[in-house]
């Protein structure tokens, strides 16, 4: 009798151990060939929720006083190319606006700097979990979009760079947000190569990996363009 009672209790304990053990066996698991794609499909649901439910077309991300800025040396700057990609001939550099647009554009830095200027001190959110505050200045992306006049078929924008093929895809709602800019200044100075000179995309409503540096072109598309990290598994929307 006593033996049977013990064995029954042991069975309970075995059952209790089985749960954590099966989880342990799956550690570091990205879902494998079967679950992995399903996780990515759920990520697309989250993108939809992020864009339709959370993202506001005009709610502004909080701004900070300049005194709260992160020390420039502590602001990380990532790139795919090493050493840092640099424009060989700045005079020859231009930013192309193309794809599903009525008026394709080829904009020099001077032309972009002549557009309305937006300056703000905001918090940068990296997908890794760190934050850093800096002042950014540039032209509202909406003003460039207005120049190009995208067609009714345009639903996404693909941003390309000269950083070893690094690119990002954006939704139009985020692109039209008043704090989304083509930035040419960082902490009151011209953009440095580390932060994407001569021109980068910036917005305090997206994670850092969505903010394409070393820009060369933006292309309006009907299909979702993916992205360098996004194609490897990162959430596509990347909204914060």
């Amino acid at each position: 009798m006593t033996d049977r009672r013990l064995s029954r209790r042991d069975l309970f304990r075995l059952g209790l151990a089985a749960g954590p053990a099966s989880l342990l066996a799956s550690c570091g698991w990205d879902g494998g060939p079967h679950l992995g794609p399903k996780l990515h499909a759920i990520s697309k649901v989250n993108d939809w929720v992020g864009e339709k439910l959370f993202l506001s077309a005009d709610r502004l991300a909080p701004q900070y006083p300049r005194s709260q800025r992160t020390a420039p040396r502590d602001f990380p700057a990532y790139s795919i190319s090493h050493p840092l990609p640099v424009v060989a001939d700045p005079a020859a550099w231009a930013f192309e606006v193309k794809g599903l647009v009525a008026q394709p554009q080829r904009l020099t830095l001077a032309m972009i700097q002549a557009l309305p200027r937006v300056t703000y001190t905001v918090k940068h959110h990296c997908v890794e979990g760190w934050t850093a505050i800096a002042t950014w200045a540039g032209a509202p992306l909406a003003s460039v979009i207005a120049l190009a006049q995208p067609t009714a078929a345009a639903r996404f924008i693909r941003f390309d760079s000269f950083d070893h093929g690094y690119f990002n895809g954006w939704d139009l709602k985020s692109a039209m947000h008043p704090q989304t800019i083509l930035a040419y200044a960082w902490n009151d100075r011209p953009l440095t190569p580390a932060h994407g000179a001569p021109l980068r995309l910036y917005a305090p409503i997206k994670l850092g990996y969505k903010l394409t540096k070393f820009l060369t072109a933006m292309t309006f598309t009907a299909e979702q363009p993916g992205g360098y990290w996004e194609n490897q598994g990162y959430p596509w929307l990347g909204g914060v």
Binding site: R9, F12, L16, G19, C27, G28, G239
Partner: protein
């Protein structure tokens, strides 16, 4: 040794307390209502462990004198959400620790960083889920929805069924919790009267539900610090929201350790109750 342990403290337990007597409705036998008191006297005889076990082994047995009554303790929704959240929480923690590894500090870049015994120390592969940052993120965001939905279903059930009354720790439970603690410290002889849960259990379960809610809210504060900036501000900003979100992990783990230990050591029958809904153990009067 541990075999007879559950019997001995039961002798000191006032199963016959009028305040704690079981309601006939929860006992699945007409004859059972009176058997609760009998069960306590039977429990004082520490030699009848085998006898009580015999009774438990007979399915649907009518509780008779000398045998513990079979009572229905947990609604199916409570049981399903309990186990679902146990598994989901394990996945949330594993993938959360994977995400933590990408930046193992709390505070703005460049510091100063908030106190953290794990500062700069990555968690080992065997406690992580996802393999790399994107894998961890995808697991975390995929499990977050069912975690929130089961939690919400449970809270809704508690609110609608009125069960919250037996679980929610309220101000009047403070003196009861002190009395219960004195009893456990053997500074008080009589077991304080109680309902389904004693005041200390109410405190523990209220705490863990609150922790669940705080984890979810701080999670959203970290997920959408710009769109939900008001929520992020409530937690003291993004860096602190992430900090509280991280500490919730260790409070969950500490609770689980104590919870599982108490179940196994004090009342193993409650494990069966959380699986099948039916309870036949030392504390039937609490139902």
């Amino acid at each position: 040794m541990s075999d007879n342990d559950p019997e001995r403290p039961a002798a000191a337990h006032p199963e016959g307390d009028a305040a704690a007597a079981p309601s006939a409705a929860t006992v699945p036998s007409a004859a059972a209502a009176s058997s609760a008191a009998a069960a306590s006297s039977a429990a004082t005889a520490s030699s009848d462990a085998a006898l009580a076990d015999e009774a438990a082994a007979v399915p649907g047995a009518v509780a008779a004198a000398g045998k513990r009554p079979l009572v229905h303790r947990h609604h199916w929704l409570v049981r399903v959400t309990h186990w679902a959240n146990a598994v989901l929480l394990a996945g949330m923690i594993g993938s959360g620790l994977q995400i933590y590894n990408a930046f193992g500090h709390f505070g703005p870049r460049g510091g100063p960083y908030y106190p953290n015994p794990f500062d700069g120390k990555p968690f080992p592969l065997k406690v992580r889920l996802g393999g790399w940052l994107a894998g961890g993120l995808n697991w975390h965001f995929a499990l977050a929805w069912p975690f929130v939905l089961t939690g919400a279903a449970y809270l809704l059930y508690m609110a609608i069924s009125g069960e919250w009354r037996s679980l929610l720790f309220r101000p009047r439970d403070v003196p009861r919790a002190i009395a219960m603690q004195l009893y456990y410290l053997r500074l008080r002889k009589q077991h304080p009267p109680q309902g389904k849960h004693n005041a200390l259990q109410k405190g523990a379960y209220t705490f863990i539900l609150l922790l669940g809610v705080i984890s979810v809210l701080s999670g959203f504060a970290v997920y959408k610090p710009a769109q939900l900036s008001w929520l992020t501000a409530l937690f003291g900003g993004y860096e602190l929201a992430r900090y509280w979100h991280f500490w919730a992990v260790f409070l969950f783990l500490a609770f689980t350790l104590v919870h599982v230990t108490l179940v196994l050591v004090v009342d193993p029958a409650s494990l069966r109750a959380m699986i099948t809904g039916w309870y036949r153990g030392r504390f039937p009067s609490h139902d």
